[in-house]
């Protein structure tokens, strides 16, 4: 492996991990409601921007990051309570349109509350590159990969081992039966929005030191996360992770070896190709466990 290849691979894995976190958020809400939540990207933005503000008023990361995640989770819960829940008997298409509206609203609000500038966050632990196999990796990338791995482990424990997690899975597989065993399916949807928002916020905070953040950072990251979720198969947890990593690596490789002009187009191409040729994605419904 040439050092250049290793370099692209490491960079690709880093952005891919971020896409994976966003994709997991899409899948969790999709499972609870069959709704594609187009406000997912705004949670990413809120995570990053809220951290910027909290750091600016002097809070250390140890406080600022949990608070920013909590803020995004609250916004997610409020979105479910005040926009999705009142329309719960409407069609899925209507609900999707509601999330698109919510996403525009949140972006507008962010522009007012904050500003239109790009903001950089300091890396969590310094910015001295670490050498690996002739390439280098930023400490922040190590954070991205480590936190993503920890989240994946935590989620598989939650959905595979806890009663609440299994109840959420059960609701996604058979909503009627879930109600008949006494699962409060509205609560499941509510929790899903909170959980997805928290995951999005974590992604937004982790990536901000590498790419900067701004009020509209959620548009592109939301789209990439969506492409990753579609590629892996909407609703599949493992699919979201693999889809995110594959998208990140393909993007970085094509930018490195071909031209960076097409980098963002890859996500669109993937969405189209998957929808045409592989509608259930790599790990979609055809058996296996969905998150």
């Amino acid at each position: 492996m040439s050092p250049q290849f290793v370099q692209y691979l490491l960079t690709g894995l880093t952005v891919g991990a971020i896409y994976a976190l966003v994709a997991l958020g899409f899948s969790i809400i999709f499972n609870a409601s069959h709704v594609i939540n187009f406000a997912q990207g705004e949670f990413v933005m809120i995570g990053g921007m809220a951290t910027v503000s909290l750091v600016a008023v002097g809070l250390p990361y140890l406080l600022a990051i949990p608070l920013a995640i909590a803020t995004a989770a609250l916004v997610g819960l409020a979105l479910e309570k005040f926009a999705v829940e009142p329309a719960r008997d409407a069609s899925v298409v209507t609900l999707i349109i509601i999330t698109i509206g919510a996403s525009m609203f949140l972006r507008g609000l962010a522009m007012l509350v904050w500003d239109k500038n790009l903001h950089a966050l300091k890396p969590i632990t310094g910015d001295k590159p670490i050498a690996i196999a002739g390439a280098t990796i930023l400490p922040q990338s190590v954070w991205v990969l480590g936190v993503t791995l920890a989240i994946v482990v935590a989620l598989s424990w939650f959905f595979g081992r806890t009663l609440l997690g299994k109840a959420m899975l059960a609701t996604s597989h058979n909503r009627l039966a879930a109600q008949l065993v006494g699962i409060n399916v509205r609560m499941v949807l509510f929790l899903s929005f909170g959980l997805s928002a928290a995951l999005g916020a974590i992604a937004g905070i982790l990536i901000a030191p590498i790419t900067t953040t701004s009020y509209d950072v959620g548009v592109m990251l939301g789209l990439k996360g969506f492409a990753a979720a579609i590629l892996g198969g909407l609703g599949s947890g493992i699919g979201a992770v693999i889809g995110g990593l594959v998208l990140g690596i393909v993007e970085t490789m094509s930018a490195g070896y071909l031209s960076s002009a097409y980098k963002d187009a890859i996500a669109f191409v993937i969405i189209l190709v998957v929808l045409f040729f592989l509608p259930s994605g790599l790990f979609g419904k055809r058996g296996g466990e969905r998150v």
Binding site: L176, L180, G287
Partner: protein, 234 residues
């Protein structure tokens, strides 16, 4: 009376599916509901479970008005349904399906009930790690029954438990219904096998296009000319 339904009506959009339903189920009774395809039997059971909106009428359970109660509240009170078409959580393991049946109960209580279910349906124990979707139709029906029993029902609503099963399995399912009955479980049973459903029943109702048209003891209805002609194929 354990369950009292008065003037219940329900609709799909503007199309009425049930109207003026009056019925009662007493503690320890086995009451059957027979009716043709599309008569509204499933709609009625779903309305009783709180997963189908009602447009008129009242439902009382043990004296409490539950007409507007949420589905999970009814499960907590002991109204438990084994739905038509089994509706198992296909990708989840047999054991997880059973555990979820006791979603509202503690881990210890669930473990105890699970042993009872495994004793009742040993094949479920054998296949406890397999995904529910990999079971045969008969096994899935046992699982659906087992999952319902995990909730420790006070009133068990059974919707077509023998649907699509081979005759030998139908007999097994009805044996299970009789066993539950002798264990004093209160049961409201819907089955397309009208003869068997009437034969096990203390009392029964006949539903036609959303209305109850006949009521009586199981034995009476088995002898009723109208019932014989319409549902027993005589």
């Amino acid at each position: 009376m354990m369950l009292e339904v008065e003037g219940l009506a329900s609709r799909y959009g503007r199309i009425p599916a049930l109207s003026g339903i009056n019925l009662r189920v007493g503690e320890g009774e086995l009451v059957s509901l027979v009716g043709a395809n599309g008569a509204g039997k499933t709609t009625l059971l779903r309305a009783l479970s709180g997963v189908q909106p009602v447009s008129a009428g009242r439902v009382h359970f043990e004296g409490e008005d539950i007409t507007a109660a949420a589905a999970e509240k009814r499960v907590r009170l002991g109204i438990v349904q084994v739905p038509e078409g089994r509706q198992v959580f296909a990708p989840l393991s047999v054991e997880d399906n059973l555990r979820l049946g006791a979603y509202l109960r503690s881990k210890a209580e669930a473990a105890e009930s699970m042993e009872r279910i495994y004793a009742m349906f040993p094949v479920l124990k054998q296949k406890r790690r397999e995904p529910a979707g990999a079971l045969s139709g008969g096994q899935q029906q046992m699982l659906a029954m087992g999952r319902g029993l995990m909730a420790l029902p006070r009133l068990l609503l059974l919707d077509e438990p023998s649907m699509g099963l081979a005759p030998k399995l139908v007999e097994e399912i009805f044996a299970c219904v009789r066993a539950l009955k002798s264990a004093k479980t209160t049961i409201f049973l819907v089955d397309q096998n009208a003869r068997a459903a009437l034969a096990v029943a203390d009392r029964a109702y006949v539903l036609e296009t959303g209305r109850i048209v006949l009521a009586g003891s199981g034995a009476e209805l088995l002898e009723n000319e109208q019932v014989k002609e319409a549902y027993l194929g005589l």
